[in-house]
Symmetry: C2
Subunit: 257 residues, 2 copies
């Protein structure tokens, strides 16, 4: 089976032009098939403010009304996605930007209204594996922004972590997939105040032990639960760490079953 | 040789949600391989005004500074392109949106500064035929917005008519190409005040005669010259008319050599 890397970057990389440029240089040099997934939260908020469009957040999640969806489509699908693609082209990486609507890449359903109405927010229900396989075989590098569609004409704002995980899981039927989550830490740390204390490998068994010992707690638990979920759904390994980890030159945490 | 339709729509369709919806229904039903090309001029101007970004036009052409390029990338590449793609998906057409940077689809050079500095405006220099062939073979419908790139990381604002013509010409080595220019008239008219007076076929010889007789004059001449240029560069036929012409149900002008 050919190898595939699915790499997700967050706001900390996208907000900082220098950090993004440095990341893209490393990404362009990654060997083999690869997919980049990005969001861009704060840039959308800044744009909404500039245009006097109110932004409503509930429990850290954006309520996506029609105006905010327009902003997201312009900022994630337009400005951020196309500038990343153009920069990667300059770095010799044949990038091709996608929302979930393009080529029916990522199908979703509008999140049902329960206690909170999130608006035009999508929960992923399917991936067009054929499209990704065709692009990767043609040596194109898909760059996916955090937008999906409902196949009925509606674009939907969708969590980028979830898109990355779903892509990785679905494409595990065709590739040996590594899923890379770039975030602001060097990895899972033994001591939160010591960036050098990275736990380099976590297995399911070790994770249980680390939880019991309360080395891993609070916000890290749902993150790791999601990673384990991906592993249990066919992903070969999940890597968590600073963006620089993709160069292979820095410590990071690798999760395996 | 397989047939390919390259269809260009302008502002008159894009500005009007109902006209756009009606056009997309017809477009989705067009048989065979097809590519859609769109600009979106006025929507970009409206967005710039909303954001207090000055728009400078010289001789009807937009001067594209960095701020206006950002707007164009958001409006053409994001909002317009992704909404068209999502609507076509709903209509059963497997659309996939592209700027010229995506998959290195359309290469350009920044227009050299002579008497006027147009800013980040691109003159097309090449098409990635392999990409379009792969997508069309996979039964995807490329939807190209009026943005190209210089392969060095710079996006460039580019005339949509030129993109359509260059795509049609380059892909003529692989397909029997029809190039469709949708505009506000029913076609080339014998009598400008009579929408029924469409000249249904114009050959190079007939064009010369119509020019001598001054039936065709002023603004129509450069338009037709561009069409003839496309024909002389391998395009099988060029069609000019109202958007409805793609349904095959309305009169329009067909140009052949």
């Amino acid at each position: 089976m050919d190898k595939l890397s699915v790499v997700k970057i967050g706001g900390n990389v996208i907000e900082d032009a220098e950090a993004l440029q440095s990341f893209l240089i490393d990404f362009a040099q990654m060997k083999g098939s690869k997919i980049l997934v990005h969001g861009g939260g704060k840039k959308a908020t800044a744009m909404a403010e500039k245009m006097d469009i109110p932004v409503q957040m509930i429990e850290g999640r954006r309520i996506t009304d029609a105006q905010n969806l327009d902003i997201i489509t312009m900022v994630y699908g337009g400005k951020i996605n196309k500038n990343i693609v153009a920069q990667l082209q300059n770095l010799g990486c044949n990038a091709l930007g996608l929302t979930g609507a393009d080529g029916n890449a990522i199908q979703a359903v509008k999140r049902p209204v329960k206690s909170i109405d999130y608006g035009f927010v999508g929960d992923v229900v399917g991936i067009n594996n054929d499209l990704f396989q065709m692009l990767l075989k043609g040596e194109y590098t898909p760059v996916c922004c955090a937008i999906t569609h409902d196949q009925k004409g509606q674009l939907l704002n969708t969590n980028a972590d979830t898109i990355a995980a779903t892509l990785a899981q679905n494409l595990s039927s065709l590739f040996e997939v590594s899923l890379w989550y770039c975030f602001e830490k060097q990895g899972v740390l033994k001591d939160i105040d010591d960036d050098d204390s990275v736990i380099e490998t976590i297995t399911l068994e070790k994770y249980k032990k680390l939880k019991t010992e309360q080395v891993i707690h609070s916000g890290m638990i749902p993150k790791i639960d999601n990673c384990l979920d991906a592993l249990q759904n066919g992903v070969a390994q999940v890597k968590i760490g600073a963006p620089k980890m993709i160069s292979g030159k820095t410590k990071h945490t690798t999760l395996i079953l």
